[in-house]
């Protein structure tokens, strides 16, 4: 059984290689077959493996293929499969497969069809490598590979320069995070001489008990995670990443890549546990991001940007859970979030498609009767997002808030998380109402495209009953001490979503004037621009660099060289004046020389 572990990442990678090299010549059908087929294959394989794992529950590692053995460092291609990677595998291949099916129809007819599937498969392969890596260097390879694919896919419609800029911005901002991760790797090499994940964590617990190495490494790992998962302060790239096709946003910027940071912290929880202060920082970062993103989502006009900010806020929840120590709750929320966020994005894609690529909410409305199926999907998605009872979101978010209260109760982060729940409910309701009620503006074409229905339906089921999927995380994370939670707190957690909904309905019905004034207010505008982080970074980093670049295009280091050339040319000019051909001038030269010589000698 374990021999097949290697095939899971290999299948998508091979198919992406084939698609990228000769994709242009293959027909659309063959490309779809290859693209979707490879992900289907790895989905089946991982399904078997998960089933097998659930039966025995033993961690599995494959053969170590030697990659690099320099004097101080041994690195090998090796895969590691345990409970955590089982969950991640399930999410990636499962949701990935559905999204591949969806995009087969969504992208049909696009001239870069083969290239699209090539990149998508490359992404899935890289993500699987990241999740299954047994060695930090292999993880880093997957980590950067995923970043590369997000760059390629955001800039897929390359004719539009804005897409290119967004792609480049995404890659550069995540690259800043990657550097933090790389530094962490360098410290591990210096301290332990190896990058093998298990041994590193093991030795860290033995060797770093007292020292503050664990503080620094944990901080750096957090930096890497923050970069990739678009948390504060590196979250500015995700809203712009919506420039890519919708299935890309669904797969990469909702379900899989952005959760890589969460996976990294969960995988290296051994190191984080050694640095409690960093755990609090993770919680704080999560809570802050959660609240800020939720507020921003409240005032967005673009449909996909609402979903983007909501993703940032939901991942904020996961970081908050990790920071609070509720690792299994975080992973549980990760899985459920993948389901309903993918559902929301794909449904949004369908709406956009039927509204002829219209993404602005202000020009949408009253679609309930014309797009019933999308309305249904949105309803389920928004309900799960708002964590209403009986949806998967309810169980995972409440689990986080409950367990976090136990370990971390009463802190600012917890209160922010609680308030966030209310705001989340508010903006998901606003999204639903704006889309499907109010007066209709553009005329949609019918939405019941057959090939899109199947994945959407499946995702609806998962969004509703996803919480029932068992999570084999027992072996990975230590079980939490069950602390009793006072009934009032329990009640508050339950009421929060309803509070958001009620205020939303009231505002929709009666506050029309207030809503108008509010969306033009200065605060709303700042929230809409992502709390001004973009302007801050632009002013702080981008403009000075551009100015410096323009200033020094001619390379200041060349100045001294040109000065020497100018000086010798001047020297030549002055000296050649002395050669004016007159004999008496030469005799005077000799006399002057003689005087010079005599003074030199007699001094």
């Amino acid at each position: 059984m374990t021999a097949w572990l290697g095939w899971i990442p290999a299948l998508p990678l091979f198919s992406s290689l084939v698609l990228l090299l000769v994709g242009g010549r293959l027909g659309q059908r063959l490309v779809t077959l290859l693209g979707v087929g490879s992900v289907l294959g790895s989905a089946l394989l991982s399904g078997l493996l998960i089933a097998d794992f659930l039966a025995e529950g033993a961690a599995v590692t494959t053969r170590q293929l030697p990659w690099l053995s320099s004097m101080g460092l041994e690195v090998a291609f090796g895969l590691y499969f345990d409970g955590l990677s089982a969950v991640m595998l399930g999410v990636i291949t499962g949701v990935g497969l559905l999204i591949h099916l969806y995009s087969a129809a969504y992208m049909a007819g696009d001239e870069g069809y083969a290239r699209f599937f090539g990149y998508l498969n490359l992404f899935v392969g890289a993500m699987l490598l990241l999740v299954l890596a047994d060695d930090f260097l292999l993880l880093y390879l997957g980590w950067e590979g995923v970043g590369l694919c997000s760059f390629l896919l955001i800039g897929f419609w390359y004719r539009e320069p804005a897409n290119g800029y967004a792609a480049r911005k995404a890659f550069v901002v995540t690259r800043v995070g990657d550097i933090a991760l790389a530094v962490a790797l360098l410290i591990m090499i210096q301290q332990f001489g190896t990058l093998h994940i298990q041994t590193v964590i093991e030795r860290a617990q033995l060797q770093w008990l007292g020292s503050d190495w664990s503080f620094w490494v944990a901080l750096l790992l957090l930096g890497g995670a923050v970069g990739k998962s678009a948390q504060l302060p590196l979250q500015t790239w995700l809203p712009d990443a919506m420039a890519g096709p919708t299935p890309v946003s669904a797969l990469i910027h909702a379900a899989t890549m952005v959760t890589a940071g969460v996976y990294l912290i969960a995988r290296t929880q051994g190191i984080f546990l050694l640095a409690p202060r960093i755990m609090e920082l993770v919680a704080l970062v999560g809570a802050l991001t959660l609240f800020l993103a939720a507020c921003s989502a409240l005032v967005q006009h673009d449909l996909k940007r609402v979903l983007a900010y909501s993703t940032i806020s939901q991942i904020g929840y996961m970081f908050f859970a990790l920071g609070a120590g509720a690792f299994s709750a975080a992973i549980f929320h990760l899985m459920t979030h993948a389901f309903f966020k993918a559902l929301l994005f794909l449904a949004a894609g369908q709406v956009i498609l039927s509204l002829h690529h219209e993404q602005d909410l202000r020009r949408m409305g009253g679609l309930l009767r014309r797009l019933p199926f999308s309305a249904l999907c949105f309803a389920i998605g928004c309900a799960a997002l708002a964590a209403l009872p009986l949806t998967s979101g309810f169980y995972s978010k409440d689990a986080i808030l409950l367990q976090a209260y136990g370990l971390h109760g009463g802190s600012l982060a917890w209160w922010l998380a609680l308030a966030g729940a209310a705001v989340t409910a508010l903006y998901s309701l606003r999204l639903f109402l704006k889309l499907f009620f109010g007066e209709a503006v553009t005329e949609p074409s019918p939405d019941m495209r057959p090939t899109l229905v199947v994945p959407l339906a499946l995702l609806c089921l998962l969004a509703l009953f996803g919480a029932l999927i068992p999570q084999p995380l027992g072996a990975v994370f230590a079980p939490l001490a069950a602390t009793e939670v006072p009934a009032a707190v329990h009640g508050a957690i339950l009421i929060m979503p309803w509070l958001g909904l009620v205020t939303g309905v009231l505002l929709w019905r009666y506050g029309r004037g207030f809503r108008q004034r509010w969306s033009d207010s200065a605060l709303a505008r700042s929230w809409r621009a992502g709390w001004g982080f973009d302007a801050l970074y632009d002013g702080l980093l981008v403009q000075p660099l551009l100015l410096l670049a323009r200033l020094n295009r001619k390379d200041l280091a060349d100045r001294p060289v040109q000065f020497v050339a100018w000086l010798s040319a001047r020297g030549h000019a002055w000296l050649s004046v002395t050669q004016n051909g007159r004999l008496r001038r030469y005799a005077a030269g000799i006399a002057l020389g003689a005087v010079l010589v005599l003074t030199v000698v007699t001094l």
Binding site: S576, Q579, N580, R582, L583, R584, A587, A591
Partner: protein, 106 residues
Amino acid sequence: MESQGLLIPIEHGLLFAAALFCIGLAGVLTRRNLLFMLMSLELMLNAAAFVFVLAGAVHGNADGQVMFILILTLAAAEVALALALVVQLYRRRRSLDIDSLDGMRG
């Protein structure tokens, strides 16, 4: 080295020769006519020859005077050649102004 048979101290002789030398040099520098330059040239050579004779007298051996005669022959040879060239110059330029000869410069 005290002068044995000399009546006047050496410094006077040296000063005289140096003065003569400088006059000759000044002559070469200032005069524009070629002949005068040749004359001042002779002056410089004779100044040097004078010091040789003085040194010969001081050390009491004849080397000084031998050198004096050699210098005379040299001066004669150079003047002979110089005058040949002066004639050529005069035939072409009808003037002995040395500054007219500045064809080559730069």
